[in-house]
Assembly symmetry: C2
Homo-oligomer: 196 residues x 2
Amino acid sequence: MGRPRNFNRDEALQAAINVFWKKGYDGASMKDLTSAMGINSPSLYAVFGDKHQLYLEAIDRYSNDDGCAPLVAFESEPDIEKAVIAFMRSTIDYASNHESGSKGCFLGNCVSTTVGEVEGTTERLQDAITGADERLASRFEKEKELGNLPADFPSLERARLMFDLRQGQVLRARAELDQDTTEAGLAFRAKMILAV
Amino acid sequence: MGRPRNFNRDEALQAAINVFWKKGYDGASMKDLTSAMGINSPSLYAVFGDKHQLYLEAIDRYSNDDGCAPLVAFESEPDIEKAVIAFMRSTIDYASNHESGSKGCFLGNCVSTTVGEVEGTTERLQDAITGADERLASRFEKEKELGNLPADFPSLERARLMFDLRQGQVLRARAELDQDTTEAGLAFRAKMILAV
DNA sequence: TGAGTTTTGTAATGAACGTTATTAAACTGG
DNA sequence: CCAGTTTAATAACGTTCATTACAAAACTCA
């Protein structure tokens, strides 16, 4: 069986992500996947291997793309305090208003459901978490060099703090709780993260 | 079909919780459930209705029992700062070393996988979250009355902060990341939560 | 002990699962 | 326009799913 010709592999993968995101690994049936991706099952097997490989590829793709939207927001705002707020606001927005209609964070769902259950997920998801920690921390380090943060600022510790807070916001979004409530107190959180 | 006589309903329900916790709603097969619960499927249907009702009952039971172990730890420690630390330490310990071998938090998994997908879960899980917020906040209010916290202390906001932090710790536990790393910086978090 | 009822175990149900063989269609180069 | 090859769709595979009918065993109370 050869590969299909005129279809967009990236779009199909994105569609698969949305299905896995909404229904989980076990909850997503091949029928759910193929109909969302606009291909038949033989094509899916030809292009992606099988359901399991497709899932791993979905994780990789999301990790390098959508998943780090808040990180990008954090890195592209020059002022560090505004950057922290941008990170959290982006998290909330992304987790509540994603175009696919899915709520929360795909990677967070993967952690909840497949670590220790589906082969190959643990390493990927651990890397995603520690990678985010380090990426946040490196921005803090840069600010220290610039003199915008004190020399004894514990970058990694605060990066983890920031990331942990994020998970609570994601949980509330996924539970479809009021988004405005979640936004309240955001300024204090930013100050706190940056406090010595 | 009548109800089985000599088996412990509570133990069976707890076993079901552990299966759902580890495998999720879709991932848990009736075979997984019945063999863990030590009953045959006809008995399960007689006692709990069906898989769906069993799941809802598992949520209720966990909400009123295991799920609030950190809340109890928080409420039973007299000193408020130590209480905050006790809450977080209990969270970490519970999420990493539960006797069942399951990692993270069952309710967190439920939110990730079944809100909007399995009927009856959304209200329950929303109540669990906001209920925890309020229970934490009420302790803060009590401390305010006692003069241990300033009169303008924003109890609910800090309760939410505390709960959100918890989710990050739970995520790391579920991802099987180093527990000690998660414990580091705990003292700062407590001070921060209580800061004006 | 023995009739009647309740509990337990087995087995069968139809549907849906992931996966693949097979057939039909579309495109290619000559 | 036709032979050869690549892509798409259908249909079938065996398995497992949640659920239930049914048969065997155990207990209750006389």
